[in-house]
């Protein structure tokens, strides 16, 4: 993207200038745009690549939705391409169960690890955190660059794994052993190697974020003057720092099981294809699940905390009011961060780990919902009495609140072990976490794109296309996910490649418990249609995103939204080193509509008059 050159127009400035001079010499194309150490360029690199990964992961899901709605029928448009690219697993353009499994595993992996987390944490965090705390860059710029390239390499390996013999990993994004280990193709090995790179990337990133926030806050930027967005990123970074390494350890052991034929996760007497597997045995399948969920539940908060941060900034700005209960938000985010480490086994109620352990994790799960509800309530109350500007960013943020609310509240029956027994592994689970992540997190991320686009490019995105994008996405998201609650409660399992058709009630077996009625299965067609329309609804966004770089309305100020936080007090786009002069902070992050002030916003770097 051409507008983010960290170089400055005064390229005649040669070496020998003091380091404090913001007029750095031109770093050239490669160092300026590709192998850049500037946090803003890296943020945009993360942003663009993760948006592409999101689109790709969405495409995988569309192919799966076709197979669910019309099992065994050739996939239109891309069916021929799939057969040409992937061979017999897509013979005649029809998706085989193997391919369905591979797409399912990769959809989850790509959306979580290569889409939402890099967009919410790495992209927005990289771009905004140093700006919001008044820092010239991240604490370790070169490590920051290494983080991005490690991420991209991991992503590429993940994509390439589709084309190896046997195709990509088929064990689900959770990669439960022994299943994931015993599938006789190499997809899982590639998945593990890619994951190790992605984990390395997130480790480098999180060390950087925490060190930056602790060390590089500008004078006067005390902890309780930090914008909530930065707080959310700070907590997220701690979660990534401490929760990801156990998955790395788990991945190393699964790799050993796969390549060295060890038995970390493989129990004694394991049978495959009717034969006793030639391994030493003695391993524990539960070990993988514990290590995996020790990461993967905190990971849920990695998906949602940056989104909450974005939403709180946008709501404060567009309701022209301070956020309600800033301190409650901060303490709740910290509480979520801590408690997220002791809830993981609520994903494992059905493993037979014992009722006492279940009770413990059920209790902690209920406790963690309290700070989450506090955050959501504070954001709702922030709207009270505000003079709200309904621009696209605000619409997405407003939609986030009830959508995340639905996602959160429907999680409670999954957190209780007795109701989870019925709902576990059904479409109810899919509906629940997609409400949290898709119309929840992803809506917030869209809001962030619309909100900070003018700072990154100097141009606004088109409001008409934006509202079209919002309205259609909102409708189709709900048509897509809400019926899944009903399907799940009716007992539809989440991993069937024929969309439950093999469990359809026939005349002879009517009234048999565990069978699905035609109405439940036919809902698949409506859901899939909503999914395709949701895909179409993203077209205005894609057009808007690229069109506005070149032809969007130019902003006539560095602070087009009249915001208080420091990222709006820089030149647009911010130059290398961010701030033209040394910055000093005098007030909290949300001084909107101060009584007696000349304007309805007072930037954080404006001195307090006594």
């Amino acid at each position: 993207m051409s507008l983010h050159a960290p170089e400055h127009k005064h390229s005649e400035h040669a070496h020998g200038h003091g380091e404090g001079d913001p007029h750095h010499h031109d770093p050239g194309f490669w160092r300026g745009y590709v192998f850049s150490t500037d946090h803003k360029v890296i943020g945009i690199q993360y942003g663009v690549s993760s948006l592409l990964f999101l689109l790709f992961g969405f495409g995988l899901m569309l192919a799966m939705r076709w197979q669910i709605a019309y099992p065994g029928k050739p996939i239109p448009i891309i069916g021929g391409f799939l057969e040409a690219a992937l061979g017999p697993v897509a013979a005649g353009g029809v998706m085989t169960p193997d391919l369905y499994n591979a797409f399912g595993a990769m959809h989850g992996t790509i959306m979580v690890f290569l889409g939402v987390v890099p967009l919410g944490f790495a992209a927005f965090g990289n771009y905004l955190v140093p700006l919001q705390i008044g820092a010239p860059d991240m604490a370790f710029p070169r490590i920051n660059m290494a983080s991005f390239w490690s991420f991209l390499l991991g992503g590429v390996i993940m994509l390439v794994s589709f084309f190896i013999p046997g195709g990509a990993a088929q064990g689900g994004w959770t990669s439960y052993s022994p299943l994931a280990t015993m599938i006789p193709t190499n997809g899982q090995t590639w998945w593990i190697i890619a994951m190790v790179l992605i984990i390395t990337s997130s480790l480098l990133g999180s060390v950087n974020f925490i060190a930056t926030v602790i060390q590089l806050r500008a004078p006067g930027m005390t902890w309780m003057r930090m914008p909530f967005f930065t707080w959310a990123q700070f907590v997220t970074a701690f979660i990534l720092l401490l929760a990801f390494p156990p998955l790395e350890a788990a991945a190393v052991m699964q790799l050993a099981d796969k390549v060295l034929h060890t038995s970390f996760y493989l129990p004694t007497g394991l049978m495959a294809g009717g034969n006793l597997v030639d391994i030493s045995g003695g391993g524990s399948p539960l070990l993988w699940q514990h290590l995996f969920w020790f990461l993967a539940h905190p990971e849920v908060y990695v998906l949602i905390l940056p989104a909450m941060g974005i939403v709180s900034e946008i709501i404060a700005n567009n309701s022209r009011k301070p956020v309600f209960g800033y301190r409650s938000l901060v303490y709740s985010a910290l509480a979520v961060g801590f408690i997220s480490f002791i809830v993981w086994a609520h994903h494992m109620y059905l493993t037979g780990m014992g009722t006492k352990i279940s009770t413990f994790f059920q209790t902690t799960t209920m406790i963690i919902s309290i700070p989450s509800v506090i955050i959501l309530t504070c954001l709702f109350l922030s709207l009270w009495g505000g003079s709200i500007r309904f621009n696209t960013a605000m619409l997405f943020s407003l939609a986030f609140l009830p959508m995340f609310g639905i996602g959160g509240l429907t999680g409670l029956p999954l957190g209780f072990n007795f109701s989870d027994i019925h709902l576990h592994d059904s479409y109810y689970v899919i509906a629940h976490f997609h409400y949290v992540v898709a119309p929840g997190s992803i809506f917030a991320l869209f809001a962030g794109v619309y909100h900070w686009y003018p700072k990154m490019t100097g141009r606004r995105m088109n409001e008409l296309l934006g509202k079209l994008h919002f309205g259609t996405s909102f409708v189709f998201m709900n048509l897509l996910f809400f019926p899944m609650f009903v399907q799940g409660i009716a007992g539809m399992s989440r991993r069937m490649s024929d969309g439950g058709a093999s469990y359809m009630v026939t005349e002879a077996t009517a009234d048999v418990i565990g069978r699905l009625s035609k109405a439940i299965i036919d809902a698949n067609i409506g859901i899939s249609t909503a999914a395709f329309l949701l895909g179409l609804a993203q077209v205005p966004f894609i057009i808007n995103f690229f069109y506005s770089i070149f032809a969007g309305e130019k902003v006539n100020s560095d602070n087009p939204w009249e915001a208080t936080t420091l990222e709006w007090q820089t030149p647009t786009p911010p130059p290398h080193g961010n701030f033209a002069t040394a910055i000093k902070v005098y007030r909290g992050p949300y001084d909107y509509s101060l009584p007696g002030a000349a304007r309805d916003f007072v930037p954080q770097n404006e001195p307090v008059r006594s």
Binding site: A135, I214, V252, L260, S280, G282, G283, L291, F294
Partner: protein, 280 residues
């Protein structure tokens, strides 16, 4: 604007950036090794009664290696202290000992690995088990249809016993002693020339042999990678990177300190590894 606190500490935290960075990195390392230690516990607790092996590692060799690492931990501090006292020549000498200790540790560890990879357990078709170190593989070999062919004979130096003996209960004594106790007579160490055709299963004591060896190789392998990585960084700072001492001695000393902090962590991990793998 330049990034602040790259060399001098920030007043309210008392840290320069890299020192905070390494502490955060070490926190994540604690979680990495912590997960593996937890896995060790879970695998050991979940093992069939008596199936967890004892005494198959050489304790004196492990003790020597522990002392080598402790020694390096001392010298890495003394080296940094010498720099703080502005004595670069002394730092050069002392830190060389650190690097030498790292090299020695890796050599001793490689010898232990080699010992395990040449230690075979052969199950014969008639039910006998021969356990011993490889002397030679005779005949055979070569590649047919892309598959490596087995040798005609495998020669081991070790002992022979009946299969059920090994499966029987295990005590906290080395394998051979235990087997002797159970069989009631002295097991003679001798050379066995075993025809490959009469074997049912030939396996060395690699990570695939049992879950104990699997976690042993994973933990010590990962630790050895940390030792090698740490030694490379310390060596680079000691050698090619030492030019910085002339241009920016403060920052150079910081680098030595940060690499030293990492080194202490690596040593500390071993202090936990040694008892759980060798002694318990």
């Amino acid at each position: 604007m330049e990034i602040p606190f790259t060399t001098l500490p920030r007043r309210d935290t008392g840290l320069y950036n890299a020192k905070l960075g390494i502490w955060l990195f070490l926190a994540s390392e604690v979680m990495l090794f912590g997960a593996l230690f937890s896995s060790y516990i879970l695998l050991r607790v979940g093992a069939m009664p008596g199936a967890w092996p004892h005494g198959i590692l050489n304790v004196p060799v492990g003790t020597v290696n522990t002392l080598v690492l402790i020694c390096s931990s001392v010298t890495v501090v003394l080296g940094w202290a010498a720099l703080k006292a502005n004595d670069f020549a002394k730092y050069r000498k002392i830190q060389l000992v650190t690097i030498a200790c790292a090299g020695m540790f890796v050599c001793i560890k490689s010898y232990e690995y080699y010992d395990k990879f040449t230690h075979y357990e052969v199950v014969m078709k008639d039910g006998r088990v021969i356990d011993g170190h490889l002397v030679a593989k005779e005949g055979g070999g070569g590649v047919v249809d892309g598959r490596r062919q087995p040798p005609e004979f495998i020669v081991l130096h070790g002992v022979e016993f009946a299969a059920e003996l090994k499966a029987a209960g295990m005590a906290k004594v080395p394998l051979i002693e235990r087997l002797e106790k159970q069989s009631g007579h002295h097991l003679e160490h001798k050379e066995f020339r075993i025809p490959w055709a009469e074997t049912k299963r030939v396996q060395n004591y690699g990570p695939w042999h049992n879950t104990y060896l699997a976690i042993y190789f994973t933990l010590t392998g990962l630790h050895a990678l940390h030792v090698i990585g740490g030694a490379l960084v310390i060596g680079w700072i000691w050698g090619p990177g030492a030019a910085m001492w002339k241009t920016d001695p403060e920052r150079y000393t910081n680098r030595v300190e940060v690499s030293g902090l990492f080194w202490h962590f690596v040593d500390l991990v071993w202090i936990f590894l040694f008892p759980i793998l060798y002694l318990l």
